[in-house]
Point group: D2
Chain length 353, copies 4
């Protein structure tokens, strides 16, 4: 196989971004088929690169000129499309989420397992970012000793109004879910979401920012400040605090300027393309190379399933305001502590100054 | 009054540090009387600077050659000594804590109020640190817009074994309690302590590090990673995240070295003297200048009381594992949410990979 | 033309690096022919990628299956090979230097001009580095006001012994020659080399480090510290000082670590592949894309000629210890100041302490 | 002696700054006498602190209520005043320059030597700055191996018009003269001044910025970019490049802000008070403590003499455009290289692109 022939399902922002990369920057791949819910959108993208439009995504998957599938369609249809890829025995790179509920993700994990080979790669591209790779390597090599805590910061300059609190968990925090699992090499067992004061830029009812706290199997604590309407820039930082030292990535200090207003500094990365564009290319190239061998080279179906399960608990935690446990097959849950009764002082005299 | 004549009560590490500063670096002050539980220790310090020893601290406070008092004795005796200063009408700089329980702190606040002038200053020296002053100024001037979240990091290289989880709250986290109140200008209403994996350097039963979460009156969230056995250095960082930007202090980047092992970096501040030595001097000098006028120039009795109240809730939260409310006179508590029942999936099939 | 068929002349370190990129990372290109002075080396590289060996480089250039040529052979044979590419009308990406003397570079510039189209691109890959691109953009957009001075730092951890003072000018400083011309958009008119104390790691007679000072047409001053045996890492920094501010690139601060020895920092980029690997890929991809259109997309023959002329003056300056003027067609030289007689105090009395 | 009684000669900006420090921040000192060329200015300062005015500076030096003298008068009168202090046998802290010419400085050095004790301290306050102290300590401890090059940056936001090129050498570069001597522990033997394009903010005929190059006894090279009208801030950086690593101070990164315009950074130190205020206090306190013992604790007369000699050569180099040798007693000068004839290419054909 000289060139991997790929069907891209869904050519919204992410899908179009991937088509562009596969056409202009990735070696050994060719987008042959485009499918989208909006046929005219599919035609526009397909025409620009000389691909065919196949309206029905399942037909696109099964097309004779398709060796592998890239799914960038809305999450709600991932379940059907990923299953069709498994049925066709074709490698698939599925953008997050794997599916939109735990049960269907779980079924996919079992189904792929029964096939005896990994066909599903999930699009957690931070695992391909050079800074995360260096941080992971530092941890694995023992450079920090036993990792005890992780602090994540995930800030976007602005998002559309439909990014409500739950959407922020499923679409943004999901990256720190995978980062946690990648860096620490273990599952997340509980999620707590602490809501504070919301920015005035947030629609009513949306808690932006939020503080998300994960607890892992071994009891490590991970914090994630998720704040998607900072008005500032795209800031993604991760600090790992270990027994032998700590390490931080995402400091964004490449071009430093001193200005006539007496300030110093630089530009913060404006968006995910500037920050993770290279990671996306590495992800795609490695997937293309692996897909030619009929396998994957990145996070697999279980990683997608685990992320769905953690986000599900996260959404529950947004609603409940308390710690929620993650329901993941084969992962023992900790014994819950007895709740302590809430005793408040009845009559506090006097006034504050 | 040319020189303020000061009695120093307690000449352990902090007391001796203050005697040294008052003798060598502070203008307009003279330590005339030393008192300590161990008379020989008092004599040693007093002889070196030509001061008198007065064994009984209350006598020392009331000594005719004493204009003002610096209390650096153990917290348990602060209550009696501060009250004696109020009775004598003498200005007092009291190292934290004001007292060791909420009730006695509250009584002192009311007693000072009845005197009609402020005599008590509490030793929260971070308010005099140039970086915290700059951060406070940035917030107050509106440079960050409305502050939404604060993230604190408080790390010591090593501490004695008696620094258990509760001690860490009362002796270390107390600084972030005051920093929070200073930077945000409002009270803390609840504390939650999230324990994770402890460093192997901690004695059994001590949760080091811990993640402490404060909630303020207006609902702002403050996190504090307290980790006192890092083996690394003295790292005190604070990041304030506002609607219009964020700001961080404590980055410690003054001397930058590139080394032959291919690394770059510098020395982290080894201890509190190097980090806050200047702040202590500023604190002392401003207190000496104010005491000559019979007043204070720094955090007062209410600040000491509020810190005691928050730490009390913090210690409760260490024990309970849940959010505990702060009992502070005149501060309304939020209505508690209904606890959500803990429903776990009964039978999760299959195994993890 | 679907794939640009490329002959690579010279498969030493750089040539092999380019073959690897063209085969694994660059889209739309295929290495069809390899030529090297050592046939067995050529065969080894060619066999690994399924290319043919053509021993004679001129035959390789004229091969029917070759659309474009990448020259990574020793500088001494560039003249003949580049001329052959011009004769064949084939696009060529020539690693620096264009040729090894001013006269032959000048002839090539004129010869290409007579062809009426640009076929020659010279391998100054820093122009494709995102940080240099950002710095250039900042200057061009007026973000620094009129640029007044530029300070460059060029440090390698170690080099072979044949890197003597002249070689350091021709092989290392040549990059800052091009960076200066790229950032300031004007020619260099003089070079001075100030030799100081040499590192004990340098062979006898080699001045490492040296301070190189360029003067541009408009009189701007550019300093370059060239130090190729630091034992530290690959450090390439450039600071531009303008009327409205200054800017620095190359600060290398992506992964920051705090260590148990009380230090903070990170890893400095170990070598040029880590620092400029991405720039090389961008350079190659853009050249491949342009070559398909029969043109170039990067520094051209004049840039190669100017670099040769400046390095020639630099080598003269190493020998003479004084400012040497650059001989470049059409560039007016400044009027030399009268030398000032050297008057030294005849009899200085007394001793130093 | 409980309090050192000090006469301050000259209460312009620096003198008034010192009076303020001696009165408010320095322990064990008292300004008893003020003298200034403008009696009303002297009276104003003296009245504010309860000191006496003595119009004649020599009378002030010899006043019975004066134990030590601080000279902050114009440089032109330093010679007479310092000599009077020596004659009176009183310790003196003399702001730079020691005197305005080499010969008179040399005479003072010899005269003090004949007294057999050091009475003169010169106001090079950077030696008391914690960052310079740390850098010096790093060098002395061998942390960088043998120092090979030093790069200094000295930038002011703005200065009055009388800061012409020569004034910049005598008043600004003089600090790097002392820093070089302090850090490297050896004398400077030559100075070269390379003028480039001047900022449009500079008056006609003033070369701002300039690049100053020092050569030390052992042949080390030191560069100093002096640029006093940046419009930006007060930036003083020093990088020492050694055989085993390099180190930089002056990075100014304590408060880091991310802003809504997508930039990050902080405030650069606005002026010398903010940057070196602490160093001035340490300098004064240590001088006061030493003066009580009749000695000095900082740079002495030879340091003042050496600085005068280097600045003299620097001013000559501004005029000549070439390397000028420093005339310092007992310091051997290097043998000058033969000048190389200036051969330019006679007829360069063709045009630039």
């Amino acid at each position: 196989m000289t060139e991997l022939r790929i069907a891209v399902l869904g050519v919204g922002m992410m899908g179009a971004f991937h088509v562009d990369a596969l056409t202009k920057r990735i070696r050994g791949a060719k987008v042959t088929v485009i499918s989208d819910y909006f046929p005219e959108k599919a035609k526009e993208v397909a025409d620009a690169i000389g691909a065919r439009v196949v309206d029905d995504p399942i037909e696109a998957i099964n097309d004779a000129e398709v060796d592998a599938v890239l799914i960038a369609s809305p999450g709600a249809v991932h379940d059907v499309q990923v299953n069709a890829c498994l049925d066709a025995g074709k490698p698939v790179l599925c953008e997050k989420p794997l599916t939109t509920d735990i049960a269907s993700s779980r079924v996919i994990v079992e189904k792929e397992k029964s096939l005896g080979k990994e066909l599903i790669q999930v699009g957690f591209m931070r695992r391909f970012d050079p800074e995360y790779v260096a941080l992971h390597q530092l941890i694995v090599s023992g450079g920090l000793g036993n990792p005890l805590m992780v602090h994540c910061t995930h800030r976007n300059p602005a998002v559309p109004d439909h990014f409500n609190s739950e959407f922020m968990i499923r679409d943004s925090v999901v990256h720190e879910v995978d980062v946690t699992r990648f860096l620490l090499g273990e599952e997340i067992v509980s999620v707590q979401v602490i809501k504070g004061v919301a920015t005035s830029a947030a629609p009513a009812g949306t808690n932006d920012p939020m503080l998300v706290v994960f607890e892992t199997e071994s009891g490590r604590i991970v914090t994630d400040e998720i704040y998607v309407r900072t008005g500032v820039a795209y800031e993604v930082r991760t600090e790992v605090v270990g027994e032998q030292g700590s390490a931080t990535i995402g400091l964004d200090q490449n071009l430093q300027v001193k200005r006539t207003d007496g300030s110093w500094g630089g530009q913060i990365t404006p968006g995910f393309v500037e920050r993770f564009g290279q990671a996306y290319d590495i992800e795609l190239q490695r997937w293309v190379d692996a897909a030619k061998q009929g396998t994957i080279d990145g996070p697999g179906a279980w990683d997608g399933y685990a992320a769905v399960a953690v986000c599900e608990a996260g959404v529950k935690a947004v609603r409940s305001g308390r710690k929620e446990y993650v329901q993941l097959a084969g992962i023992a849950l900790p014994v819950e502590e007895e709740p302590i009764p809430d005793i408040r002082a009845p009559d506090l005299i006097g006034d504050r100054p």
